[in-house]
């Protein structure tokens, strides 16, 4: 098919719903068909494009003023016929009325944007929508797979069967056996006895030591000196929890000036 001169083509294009291409065609029944199609418009821009097409000139040469008049007339008639108009059609009507007056009235001040620019912008948008609409129609009219052109009806299909080749090695085998054996060997578990400081004894200890002074004391000073490392760890943990508990009970306050810094604790005088 020929693919040139698409911008100028004004013929009804195939494969497009008759309902909208037909509108522009019927001149004598214009009013009726136009209003009946009210639901068919996809918004004001769509309606404007159709009205512009009625000027039967290239979209680059349409008269915006004439177009505005046509649109406003259309809206007035629709209102006279008491047809329900969506709000956006009325918004567009108001905007176009403004545009028209701005285009006609002499201007003292240079307005920004100028009415000419607004008109041009509208024209450019109509051109673009028009171009896409015609492109869509021409696209749909192409020879299409499944309608005009067919692929093979019953292709055999290409099948790829994946066959798995398993791989392993002697070491893995022997190692696996060793692990099975080791896993199921009877096992003796030993739990070694460790010296710890219980929370209760830490609480007693910390409370007792806090009773001695009202000054701040470093938490580490509460720990038993010369204890073996495992006991020191346990004592630190228990003393810390004990300090928190005393703070919660309102018997002590805790401060720490920086992250990981020394934690200090002192008694609250009752």
């Amino acid at each position: 098919m020929s693919e040139d001169a698409m911008l100028d083509t004004a013929l009804p294009l195939p494969d497009v719903d008759e309902s909208w291409v037909g509108i522009a065609a019927g001149e004598q029944e214009e009013d009726k068909s136009l209003y009946l199609e009210l639901d068919g418009w996809e918004g004001p821009l769509d309606l404007l494009l159709d009205l512009a097409r009625r000027q039967k000139v290239d979209l680059r040469q349409i008269s915006i003023l004439a177009l505005v008049d046509q649109y406003l007339t259309y809206i007035e008639r629709a209102e006279a016929l008491r047809l329900e108009l969506a709000a956006d059609y009325l918004v567009m009507a108001a905007w176009l009325a403004y545009l028209k007056s701005a285009l006609l009235l002499p201007r003292d001040e240079q307005e920004d944007p100028s009415p000419e620019e607004l008109a041009l912008r509208l024209q450019l948008r109509l051109q673009r929508l028009g171009a896409m609409r015609e492109a869509a129609a021409r696209l749909m009219a192409r020879d299409r797979i499944g309608r005009d052109i067919f692929r093979r009806g019953a292709p055999e299909g290409l099948r790829i069967d994946r066959k798995i080749k398993w791989r392993s090695d002697a070491f893995s085998l022997i190692q696996a056996y060793g692990q099975v054996k080791a896993r199921n060997e009877p096992r003796i578990y030993q739990v070694s006895d460790r010296i710890i400081m219980t929370l209760d004894s830490a609480l007693d200890r910390v409370s007792a030591m806090l009773g001695v002074t009202l000054d701040w004391m470093d938490l580490r000073d509460f720990l038993p000196k010369h204890a073996e490392p495992s006991l020191r760890k346990s004592a630190l943990a228990s003393s810390f929890v004990a300090a928190l508990e005393l703070a919660r009970l309102g018997r002590a306050e805790i401060e720490q000036e920086e992250t990981y810094g020394a934690m200090r604790i002192r008694r609250i005088a009752q």
């Binding site: 911008l7 696209l139 299409r144 797979i145």
Partner: protein, 222 residues
């Protein structure tokens, strides 16, 4: 009588004939045991020439090759087969806008059409396999952008997007450029400052809240 084609050509012919999907040169080369792509390409060219005047043709669509019936046979084949999907007018427009502008965001589609795009429209086109999401635009809001697929080219018989009807003319006429760009060239000397603001306001007026009259007909959906 034609000469017997060589084994590679026969293998390509058999593979493409049997395949349910179109195949790229690389896919063919891989399937044929790692042939040189150049050899496959030469074979395809030979085959395409051989089939040129026959009832079936070998064609390239979006870098993938397949056999199909010759276009002038449509009248014979069409009558029994009406499986092609009928799209609503809105969907065809959206498809055209995506094809001619891709990649394109929904807001960009809407600014051309002047109406909001109903949710179903893009879904229908994606379900048909003709468009796909193609990432996000790097602007505020990170909108998803859409592009066409190789199946789109296949379905509409296009070797590539360059073959879209009227593509060159539309490009030359600047009709694929945004309105703002066209305005700049059409109105030289205009101050640029107010431009962005104006266009927004303007678009809001024009696009408004037009509801889309979607009648997505799924006649073909068997």
């Amino acid at each position: 009588m034609s000469d017997a084609p060589d084994e590679t050509v026969r293998a390509i012919e058999a593979t493409l004939f049997a395949s349910e999907d179109a195949m790229s040169v690389d896919a063919l080369a891989g399937h044929l045991g790692g042939l040189e792509p150049a050899i496959v390409r030469a074979g395809l060219t030979e085959l395409a020439a051989h089939y040129e005047k026959r009832g079936i043709r070998l064609v390239e669509r979006g870098k993938r090759w397949h056999f199909e019936t010759a276009p002038d046979m449509a009248h014979l084949l069409r009558k029994e087969r009406e499986q092609v999907r009928r799209l609503s007018r809105a969907a065809t427009e959206v498809l055209a806008i995506i094809a001619y502008h891709e990649p394109v965001s929904r807001a960009e589609i809407e600014s051309i059409r002047g109406v909001q795009t109903a949710k179903g429209t893009l879904d229908v086109l994606m379900e048909a396999g003709w468009i796909k999401m193609a990432g996000r635009r790097e602007v505020p809001g990170w909108p998803i952008i859409y592009a066409t697929t190789p199946e789109f080219l296949e379905h509409f018989g296009l070797a590539s997007r360059k073959d879209l009807p009227g593509m060159d003319e539309l490009k030359a006429a600047g009709l694929l450029d945004p309105v703002d760009d066209a305005l700049d060239t059409a109105m030289p000397g205009e101050e640029e400052e107010v431009e962005a603001e104006t266009s927004e306001e303007n678009d809001a007026n024009l696009a408004a809240t037009g509801t889309e009259d979607e009648n997505i007909s799924a006649e073909s959906a068997a």
